[in-house]
Symmetry: C2
Subunit: 343 residues, 2 copies
DNA sequence: TAAAAAAGTTTACGCGCGTAAACTTTTTTA
DNA sequence: TAAAAAAGTTTACGCGCGTAAACTTTTTTA
């Protein structure tokens, strides 16, 4: 190992006994050279730890092997979990994932698109902020770079969208809750950060009407991405002012529910479906911590694997095709109801 | 805007009326050119949206303006939070942060160091896995790249370490708990993932001895980074087998405590310091969700701001200096006790 | 085993920058 | 206001690759 320092591809070509153009070909696709040639290069790679200069490699390429992964809020374990899975899939496919978080701010999302543009990525997987996104900026960006949206849909933006079917989430929870007890009211933030929240409310209203039940939508105050905080403060208000017409609360998402549950606990409201319980609480997303709330949260789970797998595959298909799809495909995966102790 | 497409710095220099070497100088440091020159360049920048090719810029540089940020497990909100703060500070200083997570796996940590090396970063901020880290690999890496360790110290590795003072965490919680009720036992994972856990156990034992109290360390089974799961399963075991000699449990970290609290809830063990409570539970870290556990968790908080600020400043000082420090500085920030309802 | 095809070699150029050297112009200093 | 210093210009080269073209060698095909 390391008999002497290799400075560039020329030197490495010399020590491996293969011409530089062929070595270059190898690094761009190891399968593009003959097996015996590949072996000689890889033998040399064992002896000398040379790696091509990524900056020199990329400067003349129209596109690099970079993939941008952009999420709205990485401190949300849902996004850190899904980006972990997506990252992994990119690496397996031979791409270099680059992870970015907008941290809930439009300015940051714009900055990310800006630096992504100069990275000349082969493609981008974007979970947009949603309501706070700059539609025009994303539209302009996705004209230049193949872009697949995930999690949060913005109509017509990007080459495709892959996400979860909000109707499937809500219809399952509403059906379950109204079958096993009082029909649920629906609790959400007043100014939902992303379009999924709106779709969930509409799905709730539609389901309740279909089932012939009285709907009650409760909007709690609060801005931004601190959903637990919003859920907790809203919970105090809802409980103290006794606005609930039912003993069953369906939260728009698990993070709100986590806050709401903490408010219930603090006010001595017993949550659960057993005898002696005051309130049932359910929600959507199957947040990584939903198993550890008190009580454990009944919720509807995303199909992480399918969403990430399909999003990545869609992007790679576009990249491999070399042309943008004419039709913007939208793929929605159904949720899976997870019954725990809270409802 | 966009009168015509600018292809490279030569063309941009022409339209801005400044020579290319001066334009190049400007992009490397806008303050290095005369104010009038700067204005002319920036006027042109308004008219034509040209940005230098980052790959061409970096290929001949020994070092880039990239900063690597590596954390062991991004799905842990503690790390997503601290890396958010660090990212921000890098951007403000004119550097380009690149975020990586080892996802709890040694192989991934090694892969990250590998790709970082070819990125030629100006420096790296590394929160290592700890026990699972490959000491030799990190040592070799930090010989090539200025590296500041944070959160988790590995003796002698990197140019400096910045983290929290585990003794300060534990001494405050132990002092508080034993002053206000029964002295605590200490609950931790059997094979702690990082060195902070060991330091916390030792600090607990030392404090208990100093206070003349009987110590009890309870080790719960479980591998990996799913601390809530480990805490919950351990909680069931501890409660069902009645191994506690005291009514006060001090957990090594908040994620374990979150799991432990959920076990208590499920077993009907009432946690808190009020009358009628069976158990007090406290912990360390002030995890972003510690405010929303049931009951809210009494814990000791990291000084996020100081740790991230000092880590970034230390790295930038090394970069600006151009030489590595002879003495490896270790900076520890004290914790702040946060009393909530759980103890 | 000869012809065709595939793979590798040699030579050469280009990419978009950084940057050095000699020079000229502009600004600052005294 | 002349001299010195600072800043910008012109010219030129180099970085480490990608890649094209003409050629040679090796492998596959029939």
């Amino acid at each position: 190992m390391d008999e002497r320092k290799i400075r560039n591809m020329e030197e490495f070509a010399t020590v491996s006994g293969i011409s530089r153009p062929t070595v270059s070909k190898y690094f761009n696709n190891p399968d593009s050279v003959r097996q015996t040639t590949r072996q000689r290069i890889e033998d040399a790679l064992q002896l000398y730890d040379y790696r091509p200069n990524i900056y020199a490699m990329n400067q003349n390429r129209r596109l690099t092997k970079n993939i941008g992964i952009v999420v709205p809020y990485l401190a949300d374990p849902f996004f850190s979990e899904i980006s972990r899975v997506i990252e992994q899939r990119c690496i397996e496919a031979g791409y270099a994932p680059n992870l970015f978080s907008a941290h809930g701010q439009q300015s940051q999302e714009l900055d990310i698109l800006d630096s992504l543009r100069s990275m000349k990525p082969a493609g981008v997987l974007l979970a947009p902020l949603g309501r706070q996104s700059d539609r025009a900026a994303i539209e302009k960006f996705s004209r230049d770079v193949p872009t697949v949206l995930f999690d949060s849909n913005i109509d017509g933006l990007g080459d495709a969208f892959v996400g979860s079917d909000n109707y499937s989430f809500v219809s399952q929870t509403v059906e379950y809750l109204s079958r096993t007890g009082d029909p649920p009211c629906f609790l959400e933030g007043r100014t939902p950060a992303n379009p999924n929240a709106n779709k969930r409310r509409l799905a709730y209203l539609e389901m309740m009407e279909r089932l012939g039940l009285e709907a009650q939508v409760i909007k709690v105050d609060g801005e931004g991405w601190d959903f637990e905080e919003i859920g907790q403060r809203g919970g105090f208000k809802v409980l103290d002012e006794k606005v609930l017409k039912t003993n069953t609360v369906l939260c728009s998402n698990d993070r709100l529910a986590i806050g709401f549950l903490s408010a219930c606990f603090e006010r001595g409201v017993k949550v659960g479906r057993g005898p002696g319980c005051d309130l049932r609480v359910a929600s959507h997303d199957d947040h990584p911590f939903a198993r550890f709330t008190c009580p454990a949260l009944t919720t509807a789970a995303h199909d992480y694997g399918s969403v990430s797998g399909k999003a990545v595959k869609t992007l790679f298909d576009i990249i491999d095709e070399g042309t943008r799809p004419v039709d913007r495909e939208e793929t929605l995966y159904p949720a899976r109801l997870i019954v725990r102790d809270s409802a």
